[in-house]
């Protein structure tokens, strides 16, 4: 047992030494999380603003002009064109000149008084689902209070109350982003780890020594567990500090969930490493597993909106379970005890792929 631990430690220490001398890998450990969180947090902002818009104001009353001014002031749309018919508006939309058309009918003022009919119409370029969603934000607009005819008046649109005008997507994205970043770096690092030894010829020597497969795998994994936890901390710090992500649940629970997820990612990476013959193949396989994780885990698109088959696939991915866990802990203040199924799923994934990696690795050259 002591000998075993000694060999695992020898591999782990060697791995850390090599890492500390490899500037590219070292940069990736810090660089990938930072870059991704800044990219997702700032650039890939689902609160799209300044959508090109056109207006057909058929009423041209004080009230309608106030509505247009408010829409413009919301910064969701940027009104570029004014036309004089619904048809002209549609044409602009079809040509892609505008993404949103605001049509204000001639009887706008009367419609505002009438609770049963919508006062105005939004024409939206539905070919981009994001824009459709964003434009719906416009429906949150209400008339400036000075124009509100009576306290009992209906809002302009029925969906008004369901939309949070303060909604910031960074809050939703950053916790799950921990998973996306770990999913990429952990799998990639270990996928390369054993292939690199094979490519450089180190493995031919290593397999003639008393190191067992399990010892080799464990020694390879250990340093990356620490690195994974460092990345979790980094993303959390940036998330809280830059994007004001609330941390409602327990920090210990979050780290425990992260630990399981890291282990799952590392075991997948090791398995890839036993399949690939070159580092290039290892990277290809990593990307191959990365894409479905992004698309099917519920990180990008709501899990419940996916067809049954896609959901079934998604359940097989560790990221799906981690996204649930991390959103639960960070945003809803849930505890791990509330979500045992997802914890078990991560543990099972780790056990299966670690087992596959050990079975698939032979201390032989044939």
């Amino acid at each position: 047992m002591g000998e075993r631990l000694g060999r695992i430690a020898a591999i782990a220490v060697k791995e850390i030494r090599q890492l500390s001398r490899d500037r590219l890998s070292l940069g990736m450990i810090i660089g990938i999380p930072l870059l991704q969180i800044l990219l997702f947090g700032y650039a890939i902002n689902l609160d799209v603003r300044h959508l090109p818009a056109g207006v057909a104001d058929m009423a041209n009353t004080e009230l309608s002009r106030a509505l247009i001014a408010d829409a413009q002031a919301s910064q969701v749309v940027n009104i570029r064109t004014r036309v004089t018919s619904a048809q002209a508006l549609e044409r602009l939309l079809r040509n892609g000149k505008i993404a949103v058309g605001i049509y204000i009918p001639p009887d706008f003022d009367r419609r505002v008084e009438d609770a049963r009919r919508p006062a105005a119409q939004l024409l939206v370029d539905g070919s981009d689902p994001t824009i459709l969603g964003i434009a719906e934000g416009l429906t949150g607009l209400s008339l400036p209070s000075r124009y509100r005819p009576a306290p009992a008046a209906m809002p302009l649109f029925a969906v008004h109350d369901e939309y949070n005008p303060e909604r910031r997507s960074a809050v939703d994205i950053v916790p799950a982003l921990i998973g996306v970043i770990l999913n990429f770096t952990m799998v990639l690092f270990t996928a390369i780890a054993i292939v690199r030894e094979r490519e450089r010829g180190n493995l031919e020597l290593l397999i003639t020594t008393p190191v067992s497969t399990l010892e080799l795998m464990s020694g390879k994994i250990l340093p990356y567990i620490v690195i994974g936890l460092v990345q979790v901390t980094l993303v959390l710090l940036v998330g809280v500090w830059l994007f004001h992500v609330p941390l409602r649940g327990s920090l210990a629970g979050l780290y425990l969930a992260s630990l399981l997820f890291i282990a799952a990612g590392l075991s997948l990476g090791l398995f890839i490493s036993t399949l690939a013959r070159t580092q290039f193949q290892a990277v290809q396989l990593t990307v191959f597993t990365f894409l479905p994780s992004i698309l099917l885990s519920g990180f990008m698109f709501p899990f419940d909106g996916m067809p049954r088959f896609a959901r079934w696939l998604g359940e097989l991915l560790p990221l799906t379970h981690f996204v649930r866990l991390v959103r639960g802990i960070v945003l809803r203040g849930a505890s791990l005890a509330d979500m045992p199924a997802d914890l078990w799923a991560l543990l099972a994934f780790f056990a299966v792929f670690m087992g596959l990696a050990v079975l698939n690795f032979h201390k032989r050259l044939d």
Binding site: R7, L203, E204, L205, T209, P210, K363, R364
Partner: protein
């Protein structure tokens, strides 16, 4: 019975698809000796070594190494062997001392002995001044000394060296062989593959491999003495033409030019080869001096590997 032999192999065979890499090789390698594998590239030297230390599974045949049945008991064998791969296989981004320390821990040498063992290894292989240097900055000879130091750190009774001197200058090769003799004198069995004749000649025993087959085996001196051919040295003003004429003779088994001389192997049963050569060349108007000399290892190698396959003469072997 196995006590006298470090390695025994019976009918060892390895196929890679249609290729017969090693073909029914039978070996008995005595303990405490330097045993050489001599053969051209692709003759099966590396494949045989890899099967003997359990890195490749034989397609057929029985192997016993230090009393362990390989590949079944290869895991237990691994503590008892040192292995130097053909391609340098320690970590280039670690220092000399870090590599040795890594190997010491992998072989579970007692922690308290690390410093002593490492210090001794560094001294013995003249690596002291390089201890903190990254391996990537070492010369071929220095890397090779490090590889040997790493392979012998745990005092293995059996050492496998797969073409250890390929990337090394002549002086380093001499030093390397001095180290091997010291190890053998201390009781280590060494199996070394090479394609250098001078190295092969230094081995206690030698196996010549050709296209996967064992074609000659024994101490180098015995192999040279028992060569089944007459070795002739021929001096002539026109070695080119004389060579062409001789190659056309059915009883001439190989001809090689060495400067202004020709080195020829003639079949033993050929009647009076000296006279025959002289007559044949005189008939073509060439003045020659012919004498019989002792065979060298290259002659043995040429004779064993089927004679001048490359220069077009018909092989009789």
């Amino acid at each position: 019975m196995n006590a006298d032999f470090a390695i025994r192999a019976e009918g060892l065979t390895r196929r890679f698809g249609a290729l017969m890499a090693v073909n029914r090789v039978t070996l008995a390698i005595p303990r405490g000796q330097i045993y050489g594998f001599l053969g051209p590239n692709g003759s099966g030297k590396s494949t045989t070594i890899r099967m003997l230390c359990g890195l490749l599974r034989p397609s057929a045949g029985e192997v016993s190494v230090l009393g362990y049945a390989v590949p079944r008991e290869a895991e237990a064998l691994r503590r008892k062997i040192g292995y130097m791969t053909q391609r340098f296989s320690l970590y280039e981004d670690l220092s000399v001392a870090e590599n040795l320390r890594f190997m010491a821990r992998i072989f579970s040498l007692p922690r308290s002995a690390h410093d002593v063992r490492l210090g001794a290894a560094l001294r013995h292989y003249r690596l002291e001044s390089l201890a903190r240097r990254r391996v990537v900055n070492l010369s071929g000879g220095e890397k090779q000394r490090l590889a040997l130091a790493a392979a012998t750190l745990h005092d293995p009774p059996l050492l496998f060296l797969d073409e250890p001197t390929t990337a090394v200058d002549p002086q380093s090769r001499r030093d390397f062989w001095d180290n091997l003799f010291a190890l053998a004198a201390a009781g280590t069995t060494i199996l070394v593959s090479t394609h250098y004749m001078d190295e092969a000649e230094r081995c206690h025993r030698l196996a010549i491999l050709d296209r996967g087959r064992l074609v000659a085996e024994g101490p180098p001196r015995t192999l040279m003495r028992d060569l089944d051919a007459v070795v002739l040295e021929i001096e002539t003003p026109d070695p080119q033409r004389a060579g062409e004429l001789l190659r056309a003779q059915p009883w001439v088994r190989s001809v090689a030019q060495l400067g202004t001389r020709l080195h020829a192997l003639a079949a033993r049963d050929a009647v009076q080869p000296l006279e025959a050569v002289r007559q044949r060349l005189a008939a073509a108007g060439l003045e020659v001096r012919v004498e019989q000399t002792a065979a060298n290892l290259e002659d043995v190698f040429v004779a064993a590997t089927g004679f001048n396959r490359d220069d077009g003469a018909a092989g009789h072997g």
